[in-house]
Symmetry: none
Subunit: 181 residues, 4 copies
DNA sequence: CGCTAACCGAGACGGTACGTCCCGTCTTTAC
DNA sequence: GTAAAGACGGGACGTACCGTCTCGGTTAGCG
C-alpha cells in the first residue's frame, strides 16, 4: 500500500533468497528497503508475519496462457512441467524454496502457503493428465500418481541433487511416466 | 571419542530436528548434552562445523539386509522405496531433512553431504531398476529416469505436501512408473 | 543525559572502588545500575571508554570556598593539604586511586586524566606556597619543590603505608617543609 | 627450585611489568616460561599466590654498599634517595609498582609485601636523617616527617605525574626539606 | 490556512545468542 | 613420579539482532 510497505516486501524476498531463512535479518530487510527498523515493525510485528506476507506476493498465478485449441494433452503436460522446471531453476521462487521448505516445517502459516502453492500447481497437472488419459494419449493410470511422479522428479532434482531438471529433459520424463508417444 | 563429544553430536541432531536450522542454538545444544558451552566450542568452532559433523553420524549406511535369493527385482525396488518412505516419515533424518535442504542452499559442506546422501540411495534404486528391466520385470526404459520419478514422488510428498507416501502406496507407485505387474 | 547513562557512570565508579581495575566487570556495572548489558555497550563500547568517562565525573572541581580575606598563606596551604588528606581518606576518589594508578600505567587516556587531576591540585598548592614565600611567611625556597614534598607525603602515606596522613598531621608537615611558624 | 619454578617466577614478573595486574594472565606466564599451564597451577594454585611469591623475589635487599668512613649524613641521605629515584625509574620494581599499588588495595598478602618493602626503605632513610640531625648537618626536626616528605616526593612524581625525580633533582630536594647545606 | 493525524526515522532499552578468551580443576599420557 | 597436554564447566568479553518503546519531524487531509 504505502510506498515503504512494498519496498519492504520486496526487500524481504531478496533477503530470503540471498541469505535464507536462518540468517534472515529484519535489520537487513529494513536496510535493503532504505527504511527505518521501526517502520518495518509497525507493519508486521515479527519476522514470520513479514515472511508470510512477502510470500503472498509470489502467489499471484499468472493467468494460464491461452492454450491453442489444437494442443494435445501431452503438450499441455509438457508445458506445465517445463514451466515448473523453469520456475525451479531461475525465479525468485526457486531461490526461496529451500528456505520455505524449512520454514514450513516450523511455522503453520508458511506450511499452509507452501502446501497450497504446491497443491494448485499439482492440480493443474492432474487435470491435464486426466484429460490425456481420457483421450488415450497416455497409458491408463491414476493421474494423481502420475502427477506426484512428474512433479516429484522436478522437485527432487532441484532440492536433493546438483542437477535440476532442464526443459529438454521433460519429454523423456513424460514418456517414462505416462507412456511413450 | 571423548564422552562429551558424542553427547554433543546427539544433542545437535536433536536440536536440528526440534527447532530446525534457523533457530538452531549452540547454547541449547550444550544444554541438551549437559555440557559446558566452552566444551562445545572447543570441539567445533562454530555452528556449521558442528552440524556438518553431526550429519556424518547419519551417514552410516546400514548394511543392506541379505536379500533372499529368490527376491524379484520388483520386490527389491519396493523394499528400497518403502525404506525411503519410512525414513522420511519417522527417522531422525526426516526431522532434519527440511533443515538440511535449507542449510545445503547456504553451505557447501552441508550441500555436499545432502547430495551425497541422496546419490547413494538413488544409485541403489537405479541398480535395482536396471536389473528388473534387464530381466523383463519392468517396462523398458531409462532406469535413471525411473529412479528420479520414484524417489521424487516420495520426497515431494514429504516436503511439499501434508501427505507423505506411506508403505502401502509404494506398489501402486512402482506399477505406474515401471509398469504393471 | 539519558537516565541509564548516569546510573551506569555511578555504577562504574562504585565497581572501581569496590573491586578495583583488575576485577572490574562490565557485567557487574550493568547489574549495579539495574540496566541491560547491551545498553551499557551501546554507550561505551568497552571497559576503558566507560572508565575514562566515569572518571570525568570526578573531575568537577568544587569551586574554591571563599577564602576569608584575612586568611594567611600558611592557613591556605594547610587547608589545601587537609582537603587532600581528607579526599585520600574518605572520598570515592580515594577508593579509586589505586585502580587509577594502575590503569594509568596501561592506558593513555586514564594517564592523562590522572596526571591532569594531580596537576590542578598541585598548582593550587604551588600558588599558595609562592604567595606565602613572597610574604615571608615561609622559609625561602622553590615552591614547586615544596609542593612535591607536601603532596608527596600525603600520597605516599596513602598508597605505600598503612597510615594515611590525618588532618592533625598537616601543620607539623607544613612546619617541617616550609619553615616553622 | 626445580627449573620451571624459577622460569615461572621470572615470567610472572615480566608479565606483571608488561601488562599490569589487571591483564595478568596465567596462560601467558606459562607461555613466557615455556611451560605447561598445569605445571604452573601445581606450584601456585592461583594468580595471587603466584604474584605474591614472585614479589618475594624482588625483596632481596642488596647489601648496603660499604659506606666510606668519611661520608656525611647528607651524602648518605642523598645516596638513598638517588637509589630510590633510580629504582623507580628503571628497575623491574618500577614497572610493577602501579600494579602492586592496585593489587595491595585488593589483597592483604600483596599489601603486606608492599608496605613492608616501603617500611624497610623508609627506615634506612629515617636513620640517616636522624644521624644527620644529631650531627647538626640538618635543620632540627622530626626525621619521620622528613622521610615522608622526601620519599613521598619521589613516589608522587613517579605515580602521579609524567616527570619522575631524576638523580640530579635530589640535592635540591634534600636542601628544601632538611635544610640548606 | 492551520490543525490533526498518519506515517516515518532515529535510536534507547532489556534481552539472548554468538564466538572468543581465560579461569581453576581434573584426568590422561609419556618420558 | 614428575611434567606435558589438554578436556572440562564456568563466566566475562565485545558484537549483532531481536522485538518494544518513546521521541520529533514531515506530509496530507480536513475543517
Amino acid at each position: 500500500m504505502t510506498r515503504s510497505r512494498e519496498a519492504l516486501l520486496a526487500g524481504a524476498l531478496d533477503e530470503l533468497a540471498a541469505v535464507g531463512y536462518a540468517a534472515f535479518s529484519m535489520e537487513s530487510v529494513a536496510a535493503r528497503a532504505g527504511v527505518g527498523r521501526s517502520t518495518l515493525y509497525r507493519h508486521w510485528g515479527d519476522r514470520l508475519q513479514l515472511i508470510a506476507d512477502a510470500l503472498e506476493t509470489l502467489n499471484v498465478q499468472p493467468a494460464p496462457p491461452d492454450r491453442p485449441a489444437d494442443e494435445t494433452a501431452r503438450e499441455h503436460v509438457e508445458d506445465l512441467l517445463r514451466h515448473l522446471a523453469d520456475a525451479l531453476s531461475r525465479s525468485r521462487v526457486s531461490a526461496c524454496l529451500p528456505a520455505l521448505v524449512h520454514a514450513a516445517e516450523q511455522d503453520a502459516g508458511v506450511r499452509e502457503f507452501l502446501h497450497g502453492y504446491s497443491r494448485r500447481r499439482r492440480q493443474a497437472l492432474v487435470d491435464a493428465i486426466a484429460e490425456g488419459t481420457a483421450r488415450g494419449e497416455f497409458r491408463p493410470g491414476d493421474p494423481d500418481i502420475g502427477a506426484d511422479a512428474l512433479s516429484g522428479a522436478v522437485f527432487y532434482r532441484r532440492l536433493m541433487t546438483a542437477h535440476p531438471v532442464r526443459p529438454d529433459d521433460v519429454p523423456v520424463l513424460v514418456d517414462a511416466v505416462l507412456g511413450r508417444r
